[in-house]
Symmetry: C2
Subunit: 327 residues, 2 copies
Amino acid sequence: MKMRTAILGWLFAFASTCAIASDPLPSWNDGAAKQRIVAFVEAVTQQGGKDFVPEPERIATFDNDGTLWVEQPLYVQFAFMLDMLRAAAPKHPEWNDNAAFKALAAHDRKALAAMGQKPLLELLGVANSGMTVADYDKAIRDWLKTAQHPKLKRPYTDLVYAPMQELLAYLRANGFKTFIVSGGSVEFMRPWAEAAYGIPPWQIVGSQQDVKFDTRDGKPVLTRGPAFAFIDDGPGKPVGIYRQIGVRPIAAFGNSDGDKEMLEVAAAGEHRNLVLIVHHDDAAREFDYDRASEVGKLDKAWDEAKAKGWIVVSMKSDWKKVFAFEQ
Amino acid sequence: MKMRTAILGWLFAFASTCAIASDPLPSWNDGAAKQRIVAFVEAVTQQGGKDFVPEPERIATFDNDGTLWVEQPLYVQFAFMLDMLRAAAPKHPEWNDNAAFKALAAHDRKALAAMGQKPLLELLGVANSGMTVADYDKAIRDWLKTAQHPKLKRPYTDLVYAPMQELLAYLRANGFKTFIVSGGSVEFMRPWAEAAYGIPPWQIVGSQQDVKFDTRDGKPVLTRGPAFAFIDDGPGKPVGIYRQIGVRPIAAFGNSDGDKEMLEVAAAGEHRNLVLIVHHDDAAREFDYDRASEVGKLDKAWDEAKAKGWIVVSMKSDWKKVFAFEQ
């Protein structure tokens, strides 16, 4: 028994040393942002502590575009849509008069920002209406294999933020369930989110195009309709969270006004919470668009962040590296 | 080292013995149904075997009413609705002419069956429109504390099927993710599904009433609208699965035509699958309504079950006990 106790003691000592020695957030510089993240996680996981939160309520929600991966010069999904729309355009001469199509084709970010995501999603809805969801999934996977970011010259799936990947893993290691809550279409994220973020398809909340049950050659299929059933953006995000998660997040991460209401909901809960905004201020490694995530608008969420003491993370000074491929 | 090896060997031997000795489905009688379930689970989890399915694709979907808990003489949610509607009725004199309200108040199962769930859900939608989701959740929890089943004289949450609870746990122990996919409202299941089935709120797919983001006293709230955004029943179930799970189930469990399309989707996948229908043929311990889950209709899924070799489980002969409280 004594021998066994000694071995166990040694094992525990070794495990504790490892825990102290290994930094769960190595791509984060030591600073206020990192310290506050770690302090939050330690507080809500400390059994018997005043801020303890039971595991089923440790829900963390992450915006995707601009929070987990690159969103400039165009949302990646818009780049995909543009290619799909270009391919479909010969069959749709009426699009030559469509404002959304024209702005997309001209990369007119100002016009796109002014109209928001809705008319673009609607256009794409028409373009792929009638496709089975399996064919649509294949189109996304095929596109992701060859498409490259115009400035960073990498496949888009390389352009996920390493510090946020670490944060996702750190939260999960501490009993959190991590969810994506994005304005983008849910099927655009599913093919790669597991590999990129460790998030399975059923923990992704996003905008939803209409789909319909049908039978083809005696087999059940789902086909896409032309309309959107749900836009998971802005005030839609708390609705998406309610519908699909059903538990108020205690941690929420965003970068723009599309995330504002989600961040407010996380901040208004009864538990200690962590609310964080990613600040794009790194022209050298990524982009510097400050608080103008859409051209010609200033994100109001930043004023709220200041007033309520949310964490604003500077990509330039808080992140040792932005992408995993950096040396 | 030798001592340690010996101890480890002994531990492994002990663990294996336990695994063989302990039956994961003790409430199931030995018979074809149980054997086929176990054979399926062993086949899809056998690494290197021809039927092996990787863990992320081990998705199992369960209907709720009549598959996981009692659904007669009324869907439990309808019993709740009836009490809510009765309480709200004085404010809605126009309901006296509403066919759905009249049928519900008269327990007219034939009329209710003929009209389906939709008009009832719509009526309830009107009754609780404007409530915050938090108040609605509290109303459900309060009701469940006191409501009793008219025949079985138990709280409804006691009336979950013990063999299905074991099946859920058995699948999870073998790397499956288990989901509820129900025609009922998602918020009606969330308060008790974790305790009853081990299924967290975000693994419940159900019908969705419209909810809207709003602010009250400076705090963000969600309020219920009068309409339903989504009915997760019949051909709606594969749509709900696509929206919220995003992976085709390889195992699906139902008891009526509301589950038919979900069962078809599970049966049409490329992997080996398990498709099962619960047969209510036990008047003594529960109900015997055979294949008439709605009065005046015969569930067609049973013909398909026969043609395609799906498992039909007899509550009477396949289940040693129906409810956990039985001795």
